[in-house]
């Protein structure tokens, strides 16, 4: 309920009523006073109604009924006590009145007068009822018209509300995605970096140590894209001293990743759940879309398929998320996080972690155009279920779609 702008010592009811009317206007959009409503009701709605929009033929029937109903007023008469003896000539009237007692001596005109008088009243009543009924018909007609008008107005309002609901839904979705992005950033960074720094390398040729550099490459790629230019050259990290202590160990994989070129799609670093979901979303939005080569650009992208092809098939369960290295929706978020927390110095451990066999030469080696593809590479929707997740990243899909995203 609104707070009315009143003071205890100076309540002005007219102002309050004005506020109430304004509130009604806010609620209803257009406010009609009673007079306006009466005026509307008195107007023939054909003037502002689209009759074609009214599918019912009731209106026509009503119209016909209105035209047909114009009977002449039923005949009536006025019969009072002295009607029998009235005359338009004065002398005659006088004589009749004079002889009235004599007439009454002959017979009793009372019942006759009474009966005719009652009949006259009945006629009057009947005429009044007929008039009232006609008025009621007219009222029905106008009520029907008003209903049609209100229905039309409500239809428009419903349409507006639908549009509003759609708008709100899209905003809600955007907010959800944004929230997920934030969650992934918050959850992923510390846990991932510490894991990468402290977890021992897997016994097998697992992809975990290699995932982080690839992720970091993506960040670098996105930073480049945000600046309006595609990533062309792998960045060379500045020489940094080896960090001592926890902080240095936590950021080591990230720093190592940033030290890697953009095309270092080597497996090895485990991914956080947020990252997986992001990838899933990206893949959903880009099913059959651009290739990694186009995304990464340059020679590094072309070098990816052989790298994947070289992966052993028993690398463990496939990560179906590892499809798309680019997240256009959250680039700004990742950029900001990178700028704030990921420009750290690389550590030797991290550097060693991102150099698995068979991939170290990838950044500079152009991809052989006739490299043999494993079976199923022509089908973008088909995921690798046995190989490492990176294998699916390097589907040889054409590049132009990547440029669309940029």
């Amino acid at each position: 309920m609104p707070d009315f702008n009143v003071r205890a010592d100076s309540v002005n009811v007219e102002q309050i009523m004005d506020q109430i009317r304004a509130r009604i206007r806010e609620k209803r959009g257009v406010d009609y006073t009673e007079d306006q409503i009466r005026e509307l009701a008195s107007v023939k709605l054909e003037k502002f109604l689209d009759a074609r929009g009214v599918r019912s033929d009731l209106l026509d029937q009503f119209k016909r009924a209105q035209v047909a109903q114009a009977p002449p007023a039923p005949p009536n008469y006025r019969f009072e006590e002295d009607t029998l003896f009235e005359a338009h000539r004065g002398p005659v009237r006088f004589i009749r009145r004079l002889l009235q007692p004599l007439l009454k001596l002959m017979f009793n005109p009372g019942p006759l007068i009474q009966a005719l008088n009652i009949q006259s009243q009945l006629n009057t009543l009947n005429a009044q009822q007929e008039t009232a009924r006609r008025g009621l018909d007219q009222l029905h007609f106008e009520v029907l018209h008003n209903l049609v008008l209100e229905t039309t107005r409500m239809g428009i309002e419903v349409k507006n509300l639908k549009m509003r609901v759609e708008s709100l839904t899209s905003r809600l979705e955007f907010n959800e995605r944004r929230a997920r992005a934030l969650e992934s950033v918050v959850v992923y960074k510390p846990a991932d970096t510490s894991d990468a720094a402290q977890a021992p390398p897997r016994s097998g040729p697992g992809p975990q140590p290699e995932q982080r550099p690839r992720q970091q490459d993506r960040r670098g790629d996105m930073r480049d894209r945000d600046r309006g230019r595609p990533p062309q050259e792998p960045r060379q990290p500045p020489p940094m001293p080896v960090p001592q202590g926890d902080a240095g160990t936590e950021i080591a994989p990230v720093a190592a990743a940033s030290a890697q070129p953009a095309t270092s799609d080597t497996p090895g670093v485990p991914e956080g759940p947020g990252q997986r979901s992001r990838r899933r979303r990206r893949r959903r939005g880009r099913r059959g879309g651009g290739s990694v080569a186009a995304v990464m650009g340059g020679a590094g992208a072309a070098a990816a398929p052989p790298a994947v092809a070289a992966l052993p098939p028993d690398d463990g369960p496939d990560e179906p998320d590892d499809v798309d290295p680019v997240d256009t929706d959250f680039s700004s978020l990742i950029d900001s996080s990178t700028s704030s927390g990921f420009r750290e110095e690389p550590s030797p451990a991290a550097a060693s972690a991102v150099e698995p066999a068979g991939i170290s030469a990838a950044p500079d080696d152009p991809a052989p155009a006739a490299a043999p593809l494993p079976p199923g590479w022509d089908e973008p929707s088909t995921r690798e279920t046995t190989g490492p997740s990176e294998g699916s990243e390097h589907r040889p899909s054409p590049g132009p779609e990547r440029s669309d995203e940029e």
């Binding site: 009143v6 309540v11 309050i16 109430i20």
Partner: protein, 486 residues
């Protein structure tokens, strides 16, 4: 001083608006003058059947002289004549026939007045539209003070009343709207008049909890007091209130007090308690959150005044000029014109306790300033005192002759009423200071007052001054205004 109060019905069991008004006035004036009530033997305003014995009796210490009604009302004849004079051009004779048909046709009362009017200083007539007032004023014109209790209905447009409004010694209006209407109709600005209204016997300490316990009413509620009738706007009230219940989260219940001539809808939040005595009625009003007055036509809503006296806000129908005007002048009530305004105004009062309290406080102050009994009685006494000091100037115009009465010269009354100005009057009668019993007397002025002014009541606008502010003359101790000054 001897006064006669002439009213169509009188008795403790008679609770009609004008009749109750007359009884209150008679009983309060009886403390200052010898008051005799002249009335009929009827107690039913529809039939005017003689149900009470003729002669003299005492009611609440007031001497009451009753006269028999010559004939009961014939509804058919009355209805036919009403249609004729209200809706069509007609003759004055037909208006007189309408007045006879309306009643109460007590020629003995009129004859008594004609013979004994000189025995009274003044005769205060109530309700202009009845036989006793019209013919009684003609019988005692030089002593007649009229309390018209006029509403904006078709009867006020009849031609036969115009000379009455012009020929009485003074008019005691119930509201500024009534005064504006009658002055526009009759052009009687020269007749002394004052907006008085009527007080009410509000008990000093009503018991809201007693009402809630007795009638099992829980939670907040709005109350309507009066006859439950379509003419009083109750049908619309039911409709609007059900909208409020249906469309909002409001928690009010509607409690109806009064006899019903209209079916009350079956709804868990509409409670009809029937007719209650004054104690229960005031308990109910004290327990209520607000009073709703849905009536379209009111001369003065005593119930609204009682609610204000109890510090309760009022929600009134804006189509009633008097109620709307009172709400605006008092700043003690809201008013609605239509369903949405009703709902929103109801919610505003319900959910803003601060607003409700402010309105109630203003209402109490408004009542105390204008309708408290000392103020009302003071106004009556002042008018009578003024009239005693000034001789009767004009005389009542005689009835037209036989031929003139039968000339088709009278317009339809409803058309006349339509042409009258409408809307609330936003200025009130100049305030009358409360007597010393209620407020301490002002300190005596340093300058010596003229001897003529000594002992007089403080000056106020006698003829209905149009300013709400206190007169500068009175505040400065200046000379009193003359009757006729506005």
């Amino acid at each position: 001083m001897k006064l006669a109060v002439v009213v169509q019905r009188y008795g403790q069991a008679i609770n009609g608006g004008a009749e109750l008004h007359a009884r209150y006035i008679a009983e309060h004036l009886a403390r200052h003058a010898e008051v005799e009530v002249l009335t009929t033997c009827a107690s039913d305003y529809v039939t005017w059947k003689n149900e009470l014995p003729a002669g003299v009796e005492t009611v609440n210490g007031i001497r009451v002289r009753r006269f028999r009604v010559k004939r009961e009302r014939n509804p058919l004849t009355f209805g036919r004549l009403s249609t004729q004079v209200f809706d069509t051009p007609h003759r004055l004779a037909e208006e007189l026939a309408w007045l006879d048909a309306e009643g109460p046709t007590s020629s003995s009362l009129v004859s008594y007045l004609r013979r004994h009017a000189a025995g009274y200083d003044f005769c205060i007539f109530f309700s202009y539209r009845y036989y006793h007032a019209y013919h009684g004023i003609r019988a005692a014109a030089s002593r007649a003070i009229l309390v018209p209790t006029a509403e904006r209905d078709s009867a006020i447009g009849l031609s036969l009343f115009k000379p009455i409004f012009q020929g009485v010694r003074a008019l005691m209006y119930n509201s500024p709207e009534e005064r504006e209407m009658i002055q526009a109709l009759a052009g009687n600005e020269h007749v002394p008049s004052v907006v008085v209204g009527v007080g009410s016997q509000v008990p000093p300490n009503p018991q809201p909890s007693r009402f809630r316990q007795k009638f099992k009413v829980n939670g907040p509620f709005a109350v309507y007091v009066g006859r439950i009738d379509e003419n009083k706007g109750c049908k619309e009230l039911f409709d609007f209130f059900q909208s409020y219940v249906r469309d909002t989260s409001g928690k009010l219940t509607l409690v109806l007090i009064g006899n019903s001539v209209l079916p009350v809808p079956e709804h868990p939040r509409i409670k009809h308690l029937g007719f209650l005595d004054d104690t229960d009625k005031f308990d109910a009003m004290a327990a209520a959150d607000m009073l709703i007055m849905p009536s379209y036509f009111e001369s003065l809503s005593m119930v609204a005044l009682e609610a204000w006296a109890l510090g309760k806000p009022v929600l009134a129908n804006a189509r009633c000029d008097v109620l709307k005007g009172q709400s605006i002048r008092s700043n003690a009530g809201l008013f609605y014109d239509g369903r949405s305004e009703f709902v929103e105004a109801l919610l505003a009062i319900e959910q803003n306790r601060w607003l409700a309290n402010s309105l109630g406080r203003n209402g109490r102050e408004f009542f105390r300033e204008h309708y408290d009994w000392p103020v009302v009685v003071r106004k009556y006494l002042d008018v009578i005192e003024k009239l005693r000091q000034s001789p009767a100037e004009g005389t009542l115009a005689p009835l037209p002759g036989w031929f003139a009465r039968r000339s088709l010269i009278c317009p339809a009354a409803s058309e006349v009423v339509k042409a009258l100005p409408s809307g609330p009057v936003l200025k009130f009668e100049a305030g009358v200071p409360r007597p010393a019993v209620s407020t301490p007397p002002p300190p005596p002025p340093r300058a010596a007052m003229p001897s003529a002014d000594r002992g007089r009541p403080p000056q106020r606008s006698f003829r209905g001054g149009s300013s709400h502010q206190r007169g500068p003359d009175r505040r400065r101790g200046g000379p009193p205004r003359r009757p006729g000054n506005r």
